[in-house]
Symmetry: C2
Subunit: 204 residues, 2 copies
Amino acid sequence: MNTKQKILAEALSLFSEKGYSAVYVGEIAEAVGIKAPSLYKHYKSKQDIFNSCVEVFSQRMEKIRNAMRLPETNGADFSYQTVSTEKLVDVATALFLFYLQDDVAAKFRKMLIIERYHNPEINKLFEDLFIKGVIEHEEKIFSDLIDAKVIKGDNPHVIALRFYTPIFYLLQKYDMHPDKVEEAKQELTLMVREFCDTYKGSGK
Amino acid sequence: MNTKQKILAEALSLFSEKGYSAVYVGEIAEAVGIKAPSLYKHYKSKQDIFNSCVEVFSQRMEKIRNAMRLPETNGADFSYQTVSTEKLVDVATALFLFYLQDDVAAKFRKMLIIERYHNPEINKLFEDLFIKGVIEHEEKIFSDLIDAKVIKGDNPHVIALRFYTPIFYLLQKYDMHPDKVEEAKQELTLMVREFCDTYKGSGK
DNA sequence: GTCTATAGTTAGATAGAC
DNA sequence: GTCTATCTAACTATAGAC
């Protein structure tokens, strides 16, 4: 990783904890291992560092997310004949752990949360990624699963919310408790099993 | 409302949008209608204003919350004989609209969200108010409702999460869309009805 | 591409008149 | 209790040597 990339990584780390204006360029430099003025050989301003963070890491999120989605939607994993409870637990857990623990995903998510209330563009990004985006994706999957009669119910949107809102809540519950991942996974598992009790006969 | 109180109100407004360090004392003063140095006759520093915000408004939240809870738990509203779907929709909607629209609750919630990732005390407050607190309260209610056989199911914690996580998600979905409250209420209603389909026979 | 030195700005806070 | 004037400190950013 070159200096330019390292600056972005350390900046993301700091912005995701303290927010843009509470972070001083000197801190970023120190984290990188250089002096503040050296930053300006790579980026023209603090704002430029922030903008690059948003651009680079939102693109990376998009890529990873698309990569995560393929195996679910191409019919390899979900044969659409049947979906076991354990499979759904695994899918939910993977999604949850990715947003909770992935170095970029977790920090980028926190940064958006901190900045979104005063920055319309950041807010749109947050909504696209964590509010609307996930739901729309889950809606499509559940819509197919309903058509295939693998899942009961008639409103894919409600089902998607039912599946995702516990994940959304648990992310913020365990954000500051990295030591309690196992507890988090158990809590999530309970919720997914309960989901299955409702939407798949008596489970299996 | 005297100047000292007005300072806190305007400070909360600003902190809840931009976060502590992005707000300048001059902005607070301007919002109040005075000059920056005058603030120091009421509070000894910017940090003091913030601390007072946290103290005063968290106490106010506590009071309002206790007031909201009484009618539910004293048996007047929930007779524990039966709970109609409409009643549950009303309870959920009241909770949702309070946290979404109440001047103090909405702003205080946003401020905690912005500051919690770098401030352990603020984080504890956020968790107590919006993560653990609500769930523990709902757990007790649902536990009673299960005992009274008004509601099916055996795990009050799961049921409480099932009831609250959509509210938690919808708050953040509609935080920046005050014009779409009606849409928000409809979405919440769908979720509560779906909750009732699962936990009360076929509703009524 | 990193450094030291420093300029330029602005924020938080104080002094003292009214 | 509010103001104007001002201090001090800190931050962003630039200049120029290496």
